[in-house]
Symmetry: C2
Subunit: 163 residues, 2 copies
Amino acid sequence: MESASQDHARQPLYFEDLHVGLRYVTGSRRIDEAEMVSFASEFDPQSFHTDGEAAKGSFFQGLVASGWHTAGVTMRLMVESGLPIAGGLIGAGAEIAWPRPTRPGTTVHVESEIIELRPLRSRPDRGIAVVRNETRDENGDVVQVMTAKMLIPRRSRLQSAET
Amino acid sequence: MESASQDHARQPLYFEDLHVGLRYVTGSRRIDEAEMVSFASEFDPQSFHTDGEAAKGSFFQGLVASGWHTAGVTMRLMVESGLPIAGGLIGAGAEIAWPRPTRPGTTVHVESEIIELRPLRSRPDRGIAVVRNETRDENGDVVQVMTAKMLIPRRSRLQSAET
């Protein structure tokens, strides 16, 4: 608790601190074409992600980010400026959808909302938070919806385990 | 169809070529610690993904790959040696879970199976294939399950559209 006064806004949150409906908005980040091509060259080497000319003849009619790149940028924003969960952001799994592609030069941010909280029977020192994370472009249009099941430490249990 | 004789095994597959129960196994790839740290430094900068020493005191008790890195490596394997869908691997969304973390030095491959096929009313030139993709380590243990909804072109429609 000593650190609370140092950075009130980023004070670590425990399961007991959360409630359904809690919302959090991250900072934003621009994703340019070179970055899209670089990511895709390593993890999703398909021409509609790596070659602007070839992409014109594809399903997308132009270069688009790999969905997994959009997911990575989303995670980065959540780690840097999203819900400051104590012990870090640990996901057990997620549902992810890309309602529209992310085009070069798009600036995205993430809007998160806790939609469910439940205890975890197998781990009494943790709870599960179901968090809906919408990645939106500068027009507010949603490029990704990622609903994650996150493991959240309980305050009392974690403190006693750490001392 | 002229290319069929050149590379029979990688002949592009259309919706009409698929059936529920069709299985496909990719090649494999080793993921080392430096690669995990590099990915996480850019997309998931949390100490249990970027710092082996600090990770020892974390939930994971050691360095683990970001789940999004496991997802990226899975995608790479699927693009290079998975189901060769005509026009590329285009996902509308997915469910993803990480039943166990991916540790440094793990060698993974992907086992894919088509579990559902259905027409797409909004796009008569395409169908949806639901594909369950298990990413397994060298012991056969599953580190990721990713069940994707994929857009698959129909043979007749795509051919007429391209001529």
